[in-house]
């Protein structure tokens, strides 16, 4: 039973269709990320849920109740913005208590709740400060507390971490996720940072040109991308074209090398299909149990510290692979002839 349901959601700005047939069911207490490149419509979806943007067609329901006709202040939704958007004329405590005061919560109950929220975000002593007296990370935590104080049914976060510097971004990630779990609040989190989405979410929606390309757990999205776009957007991926020899057992030919993928592939014999392989699934040299072997020569070596990324030219194009740094074994020279090996089961079949 889904708690937040978006069905066939559409949004056009004039002739410009920005969100197309967007469907999403979010369970109660679930943390779902919308991940996608700039301009793919993530913010627009979020703003439609919040009520800031009208819906061109389709439905949004929360806990079984249709909210499309409701104004933003009638929906029971908490929102956190990229730019914090704290009220500069109010103190931290007044900011957090704003929603309670608007709802007419009694003074004592409201201050107790404000204190509870400030404790939750780890800033119990900063209630009397003004927003300009806080760091960016603190401001964003206050914004989170403010959104959560009136106990909304759904929490929406639009790239809340992208204005912060790298270290705080990572620590706040964990903190937001912990608070979300503790309160069990249904959450939609918008980001264009795949690491953020992969590390925080129960499920990820990868968006592309206004469409939900793939919906799945972080593990699924990363390991089993179903479209070329998802494969290319999430992580680094080697993509090749292959010719299908036998659809029933998934036997294909990649640049002259026959590979048995050991699964049925939904295409005609002789069809061109897209295959993909993660850099970490490829091994330099032969190895026991790796049944696919491709010859090539080293094109480039990037030493990145603990990981070395090697680019190899082979008959079908280029392949990137990652190896761990070992002090005893220097990386291969450019131009050296090598063989690459991989597991047939690690190949991902792309369905565009």
């Amino acid at each position: 039973m889904s708690f937040l349901k978006l069905s066939h959601l559409e949004k056009s700005f004039g002739p410009n269709r920005v969100v197309k047939d967007f469907n999403l069911d979010v369970a109660k207490g679930e943390f779902v990320s919308l991940l996608g490149p700039s301009g793919c419509g993530k913010t627009t979806v979020l703003r439609m849920v919040a009520g800031f943007e009208s819906v061109t067609s389709g439905g949004i329901s929360i806990d079984g109740q249709d909210v499309v006709g409701q104004r933003p202040n009638q929906r029971n939704i908490g929102m956190v913005f990229q730019a914090y958007a704290l009220f500069p004329n109010l103190t931290v405590a007044q900011n957090v208590g704003f929603g309670l005061r608007v709802k007419g919560v009694a003074h004592d109950a409201a201050s107790a709740r404000v204190h509870e929220m400030l404790t939750l975000i780890g800033l119990p002593d900063l209630g009397n400060r003004y927003p300009f007296q806080l760091s960016g990370g603190q401001q964003q935590r206050v914004a989170l507390a403010r959104a959560l104080a009136p106990s909304p049914q759904v929490l929406l976060l639009d790239e809340p971490l992208s204005a912060l510097d790298a270290k705080i971004r990572v620590s706040l990630r964990t903190e937001i996720r912990e608070i979300q779990k503790e309160l069990g609040i249904t959450t939609i989190f918008v980001t264009h940072d795949q690491e953020e989405a992969l590390s925080m979410s129960d499920r990820i929606v990868v968006m592309h040109k206004g469409i939900a390309d793939q919906v799945g757990t972080p593990f699924d999205i990363y390991n089993r991308p179903t479209t070329r776009f998802v494969a290319g957007f999430v992580g680094t991926l080697n993509q090749f074209d292959a010719t299908l020899i036998d659809p029933t057992n998934g036997s294909v030919e990649i640049a002259g090398t026959k590979v048995a993928l050991a699964r049925t592939i939904n295409a005609r014999e002789g069809a061109k299909i897209g295959l993909a392989l993660r850099p970490e699934a490829i091994h330099l040299g032969r190895a026991a149990g790796r049944d696919v072997v491709l010859p090539g020569n080293i094109r480039d070596v990037h030493f990145m510290g603990s990981v070395i990324r090697i680019t190899v030219n082979f008959a079908g194009g280029q392949i990137s692979l990652d190896t761990f740094n070992r002090p005893s074994a220097p990386p291969p020279e450019r131009g050296a002839a090598v063989v690459l090996s991989a597991n047939a089961t690690d190949f991902i079949v792309l369905s565009d």
Partner: protein, 260 residues
């Protein structure tokens, strides 16, 4: 060398502003032959006409400011939020009072709202006061609108509004608790200018025949020698007191410290 030139220019400017003031202040003290005295001030302040007209204008100024704030803050806010494309036109409209002479406006009012019109505002003293307040608001519009609009520029109006809306706030709450407090300093400087305009305004008050301070000053200036100078000095003192108050408010509004 350039420093000396700069200081010289400043000194010259100060002289240009201060000499007439000093001269006027000095003259206002010379009512009693041969010695400096405050006779002219005593005369002015003791005049019941002064108290009456000044009181009337202060009350009018307060109502004009209240009405102006209620008119301008929501309008400027709405334009910024929903009709950003209309801003140049709204600005043009708010500038019109600088181009159209007050006398034209007031004759228009008298034609439209005279006793035989559909809305005979000039028929009663209260009606005429309301009409005069509208007139004053119009005159102050260019300053008020610009001040408030500049104030709104310092905050992210759209995001503030959405944040407040998602917390359940309606338009009135947003305006009263978020927008107005954040533009208060701007509103006050607009209010001060409005005050100055209303206190000195002559044409509208005279033509609508209301007992305002402007016509009183004119009357006094035409008939007396020393009192007008004393009156001018008093007017200056009031103006400067207003400026001081604005500074004080700016200083006291804590959340603005970061911005200034």
């Amino acid at each position: 060398m350039t420093r000396i030139a700069a200081w010289g220019a400043i000194a010259l400017g100060m002289l240009y502003f201060l000499m007439p003031l000093v001269g006027m202040a000095e003259f206002s003290l010379k009512m009693r032959r041969g010695v400096y005295s405050l006779d002219a001030y005593a005369r002015v302040l003791g005049d019941p006409k002064f108290q009456e007209t000044f009181g009337y204008s202060v009350v009018m100024a307060i109502f004009t400011i209240l009405f102006g704030v209620l008119l301008v803050v929501p309008t400027a806010y709405w334009v910024r939020l929903k009709l950003p494309g209309a801003r140049p036109y709204i600005e043009f409209v708010t500038l019109l009072p600088l181009v159209i002479p007050a006398i034209v406006v007031v004759f228009g009012y008298i034609r439209l709202y005279n006793t035989s019109s559909w809305l005979p505002l000039t028929g009663t003293a209260m009606g005429t006061n309301i009409l005069l307040m509208f007139g004053y608001t119009t005159l102050a519009l260019p300053y008020m609108y610009r001040a408030v609009d500049t104030g709104l520029r310092t905050i992210d109006v759209a995001t503030m509004t959405e944040a407040a809306q998602s917390l359940g706030a309606g338009w009135i709450t947003i305006l009263a608790r978020i927008i107005l407090p954040n533009v208060l300093v701007a509103v006050l400087s607009g209010a001060f200018l409005t005050f100055a305009i209303v206190i000195g305004e002559f044409t509208m008050a005279a033509l609508l025949n209301r007992p305002a301070f402007g016509p009183y000053m004119q009357l006094l200036g035409a008939n007396r020698a020393y009192e007008p100078a004393a009156l001018a000095v008093i007017a200056f003192a009031i103006t400067w007191a207003c400026m001081g108050l604005i500074q004080l408010v700016t200083r006291l509004s804590k959340h603005d410290r970061a911005r200034n």
